[in-house]
Symmetry: C2
């Protein structure tokens, strides 16, 4: 058996501690599978003395995490600090620049700087791996970049944020509103104290941008992801979706559209009404799921726990085993120079049915105004339901939910523009597509 693979670990939060626990618990099995031991040599974190339930005595300690990248006794730096820039990025650059392979769980950093880091890794002939950055323990980076590598992937979509999925399924089962469920999720540790990145869809968008690059062979383009989150979804929307045979999920979708011979990239994260018989409707709680459609393999579904120390550590160590085995795959499955810079697609010609929810002042003519806008924009109405009335809601605004027949997204957008600033509307309309 060859030399151990020597690891430096930056960041000892739940995932970092999980990696140490995993290597302890399954060490001999991992060494047998990898063909060599995987040994943590040095660690760094903000606070050395914090009780993490693990013994740090066997490992060298570095107060300055960038020193990990300089140690001659280290083969791979594992970055579990987080944040798109700052110390994590500095460490990543120094590791790859200094001849160390890099494994990271940092979706924000890969979404923002993945191209730069992949270029650096390629220039130095080093591995850059980030299975843990997307969908926790689900081997979807490997599944797309290797398992489905023979395919032209045409479409990709999935549930990429466990916090949002937990909140939405809790809203579904309890009938409670967003705020209350978020608070309960925070108390249980399922949502961060500042939940913005999760509930506003940014975290899912980081992951989507990474998956899209892998799947389509395009350069990562996080800036082009069209993002909306779940914070505006109400119990009434969930109830309305239910009555329509749907559930609401935050779905990331990406596809390549070919327009006049030019490939254009569509990337969006938004809440979607998912038909109850669709596989994504059964994805409950903090579970993640990714569907990819390839031109030969057809539809593949990968599902599992999208977060948590165990699943994330499993993905980090899978990357380490790959490196120990000497398995080299380009970070995005293609050399960086071949990753296509596809312009963003115009979503307007996407066809679909849409759910539109209006919060309206309860006064005469409101429905006429809304339906006139639909007519003028060419949106055909399949069903309309008005919730609440002056008698039971007093002066409160009333909810009107409309489902359109299949039609272009541009028509729905045009209808919304016609209604923009209308004094009849208490807030901007909420629009969600239906996924059948």
């Amino acid at each position: 058996m060859t030399q151990p693979l020597r690891i430096a670990l930056a960041g000892l939060g739940t995932v970092g501690a999980g990696v140490i626990r995993l290597l302890d618990a399954n060490g001999s099995l991992i060494a047998a599978r990898a063909g060599r031991a995987i040994e943590v040599v040095a660690v760094s974190a903000r606070n050395r003395s914090k009780d993490r339930g693990i013994d740090l005595a066997p490992y060298a300690w570095e107060d300055d995490m960038t020193a990990l990248a300089m140690r001659p006794d280290v083969d791979v730096v594992v970055e579990l600090v987080g944040g798109s820039d700052g110390p994590a990025l500095t460490l990543a650059r120094q590791a790859l620049g200094g001849g160390k392979a890099l494994v990271t769980a940092n979706k924000a950093m890969i979404a923002h700087h993945g191209m730069e880091l992949a270029t650096l890794a390629e220039a130095h002939g080093l591995a850059l791996k980030f299975e843990a950055a997307v969908a926790g323990g689900i081997p979807v980076i490997k599944g797309l970049g290797e398992g489905a590598a023979a395919n032209r992937i045409e479409r990709l979509y999935g549930i990429l944020n466990g916090t949002c999925n937990y909140i939405l399924t809790q809203m579904e089962s309890t009938g409670a509103d967003f705020g209350g469920v978020l608070k309960a999720a925070q108390d249980l540790g399922y949502a961060e104290a500042d939940p913005t990145f999760d509930v506003e869809g940014v975290d899912a968008a980081h992951k989507l941008a990474i998956l899209a690059a892998l799947a389509f062979g395009t350069a990562v383009d996080f800036g082009a992801v069209d993002i909306s989150g779940i914070s505006r979804i109400r119990a009434a929307d969930i109830a309305q979706a239910d009555a329509l045979g749907h559930v609401i999920r935050l779905v990331g979708q990406a596809e390549v559209q070919t327009v006049d011979g030019e490939r254009r990239l569509f990337q969006r994260v938004q809440p979607v009404l998912v038909a109850k018989d669709h596989p994504l409707a059964a994805v409950d709680g903090p579970t993640n799921a990714v569907v990819a459609e390839g031109n030969f393999v057809g539809r593949l579904l990968f599902q599992g726990r999208g977060a948590g120390d165990g699943p994330t550590a499993s993905a980090v160590v899978a990357d380490l085993i790959d490196i120990a085995r000497g398995n080299a795959v380009a970070p995005f499955s293609l050399p960086v120079a071949l990753l296509e810079k596809a312009p963003a697609a115009d979503p307007g010609n996407r066809l679909g049915r849409h759910y539109m929810r209006f919060t309206v002042a309860d006064r005469p003519g409101v429905l006429a105004e809304i339906t006139a806008a639909m007519r003028d924009a060419g949106v055909s109405i399949e069903s309309m339901i008005q919730h609440g009335s002056p008698s039971d809601a007093g002066l409160d605004p009333v909810l009107v939910a409309i489902v359109s027949h299949e039609g272009p997204e541009s028509a729905v957008a045009a209808a919304m523009r016609l209604l923009e600033g209308s004094p009849s509307l208490a807030e901007p309309p909420l629009v969600m597509p239906l996924l059948g």
Copy 2:
């Protein structure tokens, strides 16, 4: 870019032709991902002149497929002939013995001779890959052997035969009996002219034995798989399962049980009543799905098309891309010498609820006899339903369906033994566990 990876293809049925079509359609993408072109150099099949819709002119032809293994211009032999022994096995041995890597879709050969071939591959430092042998295009061999490699896998189960799943879901949706649905499936090409290997569970058992070895680090032990098929399932069983909130699926299950410090391997393929809210219940038609539970990653689900030329070719070419990239993983993720020879587990102490269906002569005392056997064997009855009666079924036998409370499988087996040979039973009882 380095030299092309040169392939010889044995077998030009739907999968072989699919591989050629796939390499044609996606060739430049595959070359970019693999870092080198993948080129078919030579082919062999039984009939040279058959019209397969592909042009064989670019490839050297060998009448004797074993000659493919001897060609100096070939790096990898792709075996798509099928059959556990015979020409396929001869070719596999000659390829690996003669210094060629081997890629195969042949589940029967790997289930029966996987250890011998893995030993041969290891001795010669060659790749032996068989992603296409299990679950068609789903990258589950890669998912278990690499993606989940950091985990001790504790349990594995799934829907591994598309023909059975198609038949069962058709019986569900049409209410028709097994024979009629099988006939229709044969007419549509979803079932073979001789469907025995599929409907009697042998094909699923081949796949289960391969997955179990990969997941648990045990030697492949196909002979120890306990197998029953779906040919005895009636429309009445499907209706009864439905009334109980379940569907019937042919499920392969494997787990390691530790008894007195010794690891024992449980492997079984059988029809199972799956609760409608379980992920496997939503697996319809020819789809396959595999669930693996790891000690850190938790539950992973892989789902996709389990057969057909496109998905199977996708898996074959994924293996070729791995070889072209130089990615070396032991065929069963561990060196052969480390694969444990685990004895078969005694299934008797498995706990569960069971569905038992009796076909009884309609005469006094039959129910008393059955319920007495349950009582004497210690099986507690949760529900019992009798279908049919003399008035509407004339002299036909009557169906009695019993569901037990949770209890050991050994008690159910004991009850069945007590009833063995009883003149009250028109045929042996059909027993299926419930999966919740």
